[in-house]
Amino acid sequence: MRYKIIFAIIFLGTLLKSCADSSRPNYQYFPNMYESIGYETYSESDAFNNNIEAQIPVKGTIARGWEPYDYPDSNEGYEAAKLNLISPLEVNDTNLKNGKELYEIYCAVCHGNKGDGQGILMKREKFLGIPSYADREITPGSIYHVLMYGKNAMGSHAGQVNSEERWQIAQHVMELRSKLVK
């Protein structure tokens, strides 16, 4: 009798323990109030191609706030942007402050906080040979172009920073360069 009770306790214990599985979400009181009827971000739905909710915009449509960029992703495009592309933003404290903030999120990990190419990924030898801004002829236009398309080992950051933010970063990079060249 006593053994049966002990067994029952152990059995119940393991049952409860196995229910608390951290790789599954918990159950809910009223799932229809928790789960959205509408499409949720990144959800699956058979209403779309490949059942993916996150779709590429329809061909020929333009996202709100999108601006055309005429320079092609080529060596000629780079040279042309370097010469002709001029920032629409004026150099002021707000832009420089935002530029610094964004630079430290998106660029400093490789290029270093000072722009000398000594970022943490360089120091840990994940990336090698990152140039200092002082060693390269760059203009705000060329920085914008490279942020847009990427260059050599650097990828495009157009998906992470919008047009205005790219110009603010370019402003900060030029400031870093002028400090380095001095």
């Binding site: 951290s22 809910q28 990990v109 090698l128 080992a153």
Partner: protein, 442 residues
């Protein structure tokens, strides 16, 4: 019996000492191995190779690897493929050579889709010689590495063996003790029998069992029942309160992405990948092109290993290959194949449909650290839900957090009026309206 015991001890002792001895011998030999390997590399490293390595890492490594095609070709043994004079002028000014129509130069330019190699006029001929010495250098490194790793693996396993040997020896000693006690008892019994002492098992007097005594005491029964009811109510309450709370939820993701490596060891900003947290309601799962910003270059894992959990270099490298397969990256030719598959990440943090939460409002305006809600992400090998994400948890933070009113002139008037109304110096989020139902539920 004494003899027997003695030999037993001897056995145990030897069993303990022998592996220990072998272990030390092994340690000594493996140490020698490592030393000799180090000597080997240091002897072969000439000054030119050292200088060349430095120059290579500073100038070339952004686009070239030694053994693998990257943005530019692999450079191992490049001096055998081209004439040295040609290499001098190519490295110093490649653009001019392509323009002048040098056939070799044009061939490379076209093979690599017209990517222009940066000119290095600052490098002298002897600098270039050093770089070429480095690219031609065949290090005895593989030998050093294999002898090193071969030596280090058995060392750790032999220490494991040592532990088990100690455990077995202890177990043996205990069994011997038990057997001895048993024998002693038997001998004593025999002596007692021989000398005529009659040993009978004790007869216990009949008593009411202890549980019967409790049942008969009504006070104890009453308090016992109350205690049981209260404690079970406590557990039932706790059980119902955790329904719908996913704290600690740790699903298995399709690609083993380690936040510990990315956000911890490499100190990549959270917002580098989760860039929409700055500007949108959602923090967003980064698209694979964000991964490829770095992983186009980083095809192998070379960091620390966690052997206990099976996180070896090989394991991590395989996960990077999963990324390549999903995004359709052909590593050999450094090109996208165009055949991609979505990665089915499992969402962890998910608020109920009836709650509104905005990341930008908290991250950008409130300037709250991501870790405040998501916990020590930079230490998580596997991502899990750190906070309960219950309403009580939200409200509590709104009550405790002060508003940042400095350099926020736009709202100066309302800040002042509210401070006056509540008679406080520092306004909390709650006083600003952070507890109103309609702020989050509508």
């Amino acid at each position: 019996m004494g003899n027997n015991l003695y030999s037993n001890y001897r056995e145990v002792f030897l069993g303990f000492i022998k592996p220990l001895f072998f272990f030390f011998v092994f340690l000594a030999t493996s140490y020698n191995f490592i030393i000799s390997a180090q000597e080997l590399t240091s002897v072969d490293n000439t000054a030119a190779v050292q200088a060349g390595k430095k120059l290579f890492n500073a100038n070339c490594a952004a686009c070239h690897k030694l053994n693998k095609r990257a943005v530019g070709p692999a450079l191992k043994g490049v001096s055998e493929k081209y004439d040295r004079e040609w290499l001098y002028s190519w490295i110093k000014n490649s653009t001019a050579m392509v323009k002048s129509g040098d056939p070799q130069a044009v061939a490379i330019y076209e093979e690599y889709n017209g990517s222009v190699m940066t000119s290095f006029p600052q490098l002298s001929n002897s600098d270039i010689d050093n770089i070429l010495a480095y690219t031609d250098y065949i290090p005895p490194a593989p030998v050093a590495i294999t002898s090193n790793s071969a030596a280090s693996v058995p060392v750790s396993s032999s220490s494991n063996i040592n532990n088990t040997v100690i455990l077995i020896a202890l177990a043996l000693v205990f069994t011997i003790l038990v057997v001895m006690l048993f024998l002693v008892q038997r001998t004593l019994m025999r002596i007692a029998k021989l000398s005529g002492v009659d040993i009978k098992p004790e007869v216990k007097p009949k008593r009411t069992p202890i549980w019967m005594a409790f049942v008969q005491n009504q006070f104890v029964v009453l308090t016992g029942v109350i205690f049981l009811l209260l404690s079970s109510a406590y557990f039932v309450y706790g059980y119902f309160m955790q329904v719908g709370v996913d704290q600690g939820y740790m699903p298995i993701q399709p690609i083993h992405y380690s936040h510990k490596i990315h956000a911890g060891a490499n100190q990549i900003e959270c917002k580098y990948c989760h860039s929409s947290a700055r500007v949108s309601k959602h923090s967003g799962i980064p698209s694979l092109n964000v991964c490829m910003n770095c992983h186009q270059n980083i095809a192998e894992y070379n960091g620390e290993e966690d052997l206990e959990n099976g996180y070896t270099k090989d394991f991590y490298t395989k996960e990077i290959k999963k990324l390549y397969a999903a995004v359709g990256w052909d590593e050999e030719n450094q090109k996208y194949t165009g055949e991609s598959q979505p990665v089915k990440w499992v969402r962890i943090h998910n608020l109920p449909d009836f709650v509104y939460f905005n990341h930008a409002q908290h991250v950008q305006v409130g300037e709250i650290e991501c870790q405040k809600c998501h916990g020590p992400v930079e230490e998580m090998e596997i991502m899990y839900q750190h906070s309960p994400l219950t309403m009580g948890w939200c409200i509590n933070c709104h009550r405790e957090t002060n508003l940042k009113v400095e350099s926020n002139e736009y709202y100066a008037k309302i800040h002042e009026a509210l401070s006056k109304k509540y008679g406080v110096e520092k306004l909390t989020v709650a006083q600003m309206g952070g507890l109103e139902c309609g702020k989050c539920h509508y």
